[in-house]
């Protein structure tokens, strides 16, 4: 990859904006995992564990905690790369301010994505902290769930930015969340193994980046990483990130330099 010096200049813009609101987002980043883990991990988990049929043979809390962490990374990244990208093109026109300077579409894109990564990184670290407080991190390998969450984030934020940069209005986003992100959150191995679903749905889940992310995070926090499979998940997430980056760079070029 070429120099990050110029993208970092664009990144400073997003940090300067974030400086005004970061306190609020940290609170949310801690509160969300607390609520989810208490309700689903502890509350629902108590019932599930009683059934003697817990998935993966571990307490339900330990099963869903890494899934929730992965799904939260997906959601944070998807949100940060949709409305803000559209806004920087149509509302605040921030991208146009950037391209009036030596910055290129590549710098604008990477600079914004670095900020998305910052958000996913801090949110995931906070998530892991709460998961650990619930006693659901079973291995030091669990620390690696944070960088994996960042990769999950980029696997979504890059394609999302590519899509957002081709849109004319923000009415394009709710369908994406309703029909893609929310189903992925619910049916990609976060709450139950995908093998419980009919075959067609199970196969569809394997195509989604989030299933690979959930699996990988789970292996890490349970301390049961299987190397070939883990590598496969990593490569798949990287492929979405890279493909998304190329698509987004092209979309940015067409939008900002036409």
């Amino acid at each position: 990859m070429e120099s990050l010096v110029q993208p970092l200049r664009a990144y400073e813009h997003w940090l300067a904006q974030y400086k005004r609101v970061w306190r609020g987002t940290i609170g949310t980043s801690l509160l969300n995992p607390l609520l989810y883990l208490a309700a689903l991990g502890v509350g629902l988990g108590t019932i599930v564990d009683r059934s003697q049929n817990a998935p993966a043979g571990v307490p339900y809390l330990d099963f869903i905690a890494p899934g929730l962490l992965a799904a939260a990374a997906m959601q944070t990244a998807a949100v940060e790369a949709s409305w803000p990208v559209m806004g920087a093109i149509k509302w605040t026109r921030t991208y146009y301010a950037m391209t009036a300077t030596p910055l290129t579409e590549r710098d604008v894109l990477i600079g914004h994505q670095l900020f998305v990564i910052t958000r996913v990184l801090t949110a995931s670290a906070a998530y892991l902290l709460v998961v650990a407080a619930f006693g659901a991190v079973n291995s030091w390998l669990g620390l690696l769930a944070v960088p994996v969450a960042v990769l999950i984030g980029t696997a979504f934020s890059m394609p999302m930015a590519a899509y957002a940069a081709t849109r004319e209005g923000d009415s394009s986003f709710p369908p994406i969340f309703r029909f893609l992100i929310v189903p992925m959150f619910l049916f990609s191995g976060t709450f139950f193994p995908v093998s419980q679903m009919p075959l067609a749905f199970e196969l569809a889940a394997y195509v989604t980046p989030i299933w690979h992310g959930v699996e990988l995070c789970r292996q890490l926090t349970l301390g049961e990483a299987e190397l070939p499979a883990a590598l496969g998940h990593l490569v798949y997430l990287l492929a979405w990130t890279l493909g998304g980056f190329l698509a987004a760079r092209r979309a940015y070029r067409r939008r900002l330099f036409r």
Binding site: R9, H13, A16, T92, R93, T94, A100, T101, P102
Partner: protein, 308 residues
């Protein structure tokens, strides 16, 4: 004109968006230190031309050199030496006035250390020092415009591109902006601006081109254009209820133009012509004798039904 003096040089410059031809083969030479204007109605191709010069819009055909470089190959390098005041402000409304210039300066890779005194100086120049720590959101349109100008100067540009710098501003705010731009010109900054305000073009531009439908239809200094396309004076006549028949005023001058609300008579001697109108037994509701302006040139060149 020597090669080095040419800051912008275009030959047969074309910009197409699909089937739409926005710029249809124009030639341009802008020299260092001058104020150059693009005048024309909306959709004439002014902004498209500016975006090509600003290296944010690829040239469809023809050649373009900005600061002696090729925008297709050296876009970032050229942009590093340009200042841009876009048609729509691109300010960070959530940030303060000061932070806006800082962040923009960082895009150019200027260090915070060198930016600090620079920002104070620029805000002083655009008379915004007192609002330095305020958020941009509640500022007036004129203040936002001045902030955009301050921001565009952060890299000490050799060439300042202004796309409709005063559109939407009240008269006082416009005069403040004009005054600042005039000072920049005195300092040797080359100004290139688009406008559809004639007074703006007359006040600021040494030379200008009139664009219409993507082409240059006239070029010269404001004075030259007025001399070439208009007469020395214009008599504007308004009639009470019924206006006289077509032709009743013909023969009074070389050109008579009927607008919906008034009749313009282009003449070398306004007072004599005004007297002649009354002599024909056509007492007007009001008569105004004035020197002809760029507006007359503009209307003549960019279309109105003319009665010669």
């Amino acid at each position: 004109m020597s090669e080095t003096d040419g800051l912008i040089r275009a030959r047969g410059l074309v910009k197409r968006f699909g089937d739409l031809v926005a710029v249809d083969g124009i030639d341009l030479d802008v020299r260092r230190g001058e104020a150059f204007g693009f005048l024309g109605p909306n959709g004439a191709g002014k902004s498209s031309t500016m975006r090509m010069i600003g290296c944010v819009s690829p040239v469809t055909a023809g050649t373009l050199r900005v600061l002696g470089l090729d925008p297709a190959a050296d876009g970032p390098e050229i942009r590093a030496r340009l200042g841009v005041v876009p048609q729509q402000d691109t300010l960070d409304t959530e940030l303060t006035v000061w932070e806006n210039v800082l962040i923009y300066g960082r895009y150019f890779g200027l260090s915070r250390r060198e930016l600090r005194p620079k920002i104070d100086e620029l805000l002083e120049f655009v008379q915004l020092s007192e609002r330095s720590g305020d958020k941009v959101e509640p500022l007036s349109g004129g203040m936002k415009r001045r902030l955009t100008i301050a921001r565009s100067l952060v890299n000490d540009p050799e060439l300042l591109l202004l796309d409709e710098p005063t559109t939407g501003l009240d008269p006082q705010a416009r005069h403040v902006v004009w005054d600042r731009l005039f000072r920049l010109k005195q300092r040797g900054v080359t100004l290139v601006l688009t406008t559809h305000y004639m007074d703006e073009a007359e006040q600021l531009c040494d030379r200008l081109v009139v664009m219409d439908h993507g082409r240059i239809v006239a070029a010269g200094s404001p004075r030259e254009l007025i001399e070439r396309y208009a007469t020395r004076e214009v008599v504007e006549v308004r009639f009470e209820d019924e206006r006289p028949d077509n032709g009743a005023l013909s023969g009074l001058a070389a050109r008579v133009e009927e607008l919906p609300d008034r009749v313009l008579i282009y003449t070398s001697d306004g007072d004599a012509t005004a007297a002649a109108v009354s002599d024909r037994g056509l007492p007007p509701h009001s008569t105004l004798v004035r020197r002809s302006s760029l507006e007359d040139v503009f209307l003549h060149l960019t279309g109105r039904t003319l009665i010669d």
